[in-house]
């Protein structure tokens, strides 16, 4: 499975020369396996992906963790949605009162966006998921609600004995008893357990997190603790704060990793990079 990062910034697209290395586009990750194309989230990074996607791909599955704007704002600019020869499946979290399609229509309607969902050449096929296990071709996907305001899913994606866990917006320390020492009482544990790759929210410095508890995001230190608790093989720190420059991100990374005995690989996720698992 080839994994390409099209956006790993959190909260708000934040381009600029001081962020060229790690990128300014919000959440979007492409998974390619044989003929199967799965896209995790529709943040601003999906716009470039839409222009670059293999023309032979006729079916695309977009898995939305949640509907906060930084995870959906690119959907209207995703060119395959305007190609009648491509079928797009949108998978996203069940809500309490409103259907997923009704909530998606809020974005696909004025004044937020000029084109309505039913004006697209081929209406995307919408799937509501919650605590679900399903297959897209031979890729197994497990979804569960995780700790973040509003209905928010984390994903565990299994293919050819490889496991990718994706939790770009997640605050496992909130509500967890004795974090990170009690896995059974920690949000997202089952999804991330023994993952080869975990992409996880690491938005804040410790000092920033102290004043933003309950906002749904993690400190980098907590992301590393969570990954260790879950025995992952590699952690990609994701959802970089829009105010953090490349230099600040690297300093934050150094503060949290240098001299520490971390028993797995850790990297800052970087836009426009790819890897195979």
């Amino acid at each position: 499975m080839k994994v390409t990062i099209w956006g790993c910034r959190g909260s708000l697209p934040s381009p600029g020369p001081e962020k060229n290395k790690y990128g300014g586009n919000t959440s979007c990750v492409e998974l390619l396996h044989n003929e199967t194309c799965i896209i995790l989230d529709g943040g601003s990074g999906i716009q470039r992906l839409g222009s670059a996607i293999n023309a032979n791909i006729k079916t695309i599955h977009i898995l939305l963790t949640h509907l906060h704007l930084d995870h959906t704002m690119g959907l209207g600019f995703f060119l395959p949605l305007y190609n009648p020869n491509v079928t797009v499946h949108l998978w996203g979290p069940t809500g309490t009162n409103e259907s997923l399609i009704k909530r998606l229509r809020r974005y696909f309607s004025p004044p937020l966006f000029p084109v309505r969902l039913n004006e697209l050449p081929a209406h995307p096929i919408v799937h509501e998921i919650n605590h679900s296990v399903f297959f897209i071709d031979d890729i197994k996907i497990t979804s569960e609600f995780i700790c973040h305001p509003g209905p928010t899913l984390g994903f565990r994606i299994e293919c050819d004995n490889a496991i990718l866990a994706y939790m770009p917006d997640h605050e496992p320390a909130l509500g967890a008893a004795n974090f990170p020492n009690d896995p059974g009482w920690t949000s997202g544990y089952k999804l991330a357990k023994d993952a080869d790759i975990l992409m996880h929210d690491a938005q804040y410095k410790n000092s920033e997190y102290a004043t933003r508890v309950g906002w749904g995001h993690s400190s980098m230190a907590d992301a590393i603790r969570f990954a260790e608790m879950c025995s992952v093989k590699k952690l990609l720190l994701f959802h970089h704060d829009p105010a953090h420059t490349d230099e600040q991100l690297e300093q934050l990374f150094e503060d949290n990793t240098k001299g520490k005995n971390i028993p797995f690989e850790v990297e800052l996720c970087t836009e426009n990079t790819f890897f195979n698992i």
């Binding site: 979290p93 069940t94 919650n130 569960e144 209905p151 509500g175 008893a177 059974g184 544990y189």
Partner: protein
């Protein structure tokens, strides 16, 4: 026992902050969590027992009527909530763990319904009545 879902995790956090006894059970009645005030009712510490299977905790928590006769399970609000997925309310007596006195307790129980209408268990809140 638990690989708890987020609704249960947050319910525990809520219970942990309260000064009244709280039980959190799963759909089968297994006691997933009890808070510090509830430890006095059970005579046990959660830190030592962790979660307990229904067969285990039902042997240490024995509500009675005012005459000291054991109550049928279906008379207990928590059991009613697990059966109906609706709130329930009622009173019963328990023996003091430290003296020969009996205490009248009132219990309010409510179901934990996660998105989308997933029945995850129930919460019981205890109000001391005497």
């Amino acid at each position: 026992m638990p690989n708890s879902q987020i609704e249960i995790i947050l319910a525990r956090q809520f219970a942990d902050c309260l000064s009244i006894p709280v039980f959190i059970v799963d759909t089968n009645g297994n006691l997933l969590f009890y808070n510090e005030p509830a430890e006095a009712l059970l005579g046990l510490r959660f830190g030592e027992t962790g979660s307990m299977a229904v067969e285990e905790w039902s042997t240490v928590f024995k509500p009675t009527d005012e005459n000291g006769q054991p109550l049928a399970p279906e008379k207990l609000p928590l059991v009613q909530t697990l059966g109906t997925q609706k709130p329930a309310h009622g009173s019963f007596w328990i023996d003091s763990l430290s003296s020969n006195e009996k205490h009248l307790l009132t219990v309010t129980s409510f179901p934990l319904m996660g998105r989308p209408n997933r029945f995850l268990g129930a919460v019981a809140l205890f109000w001391k009545s005497n």
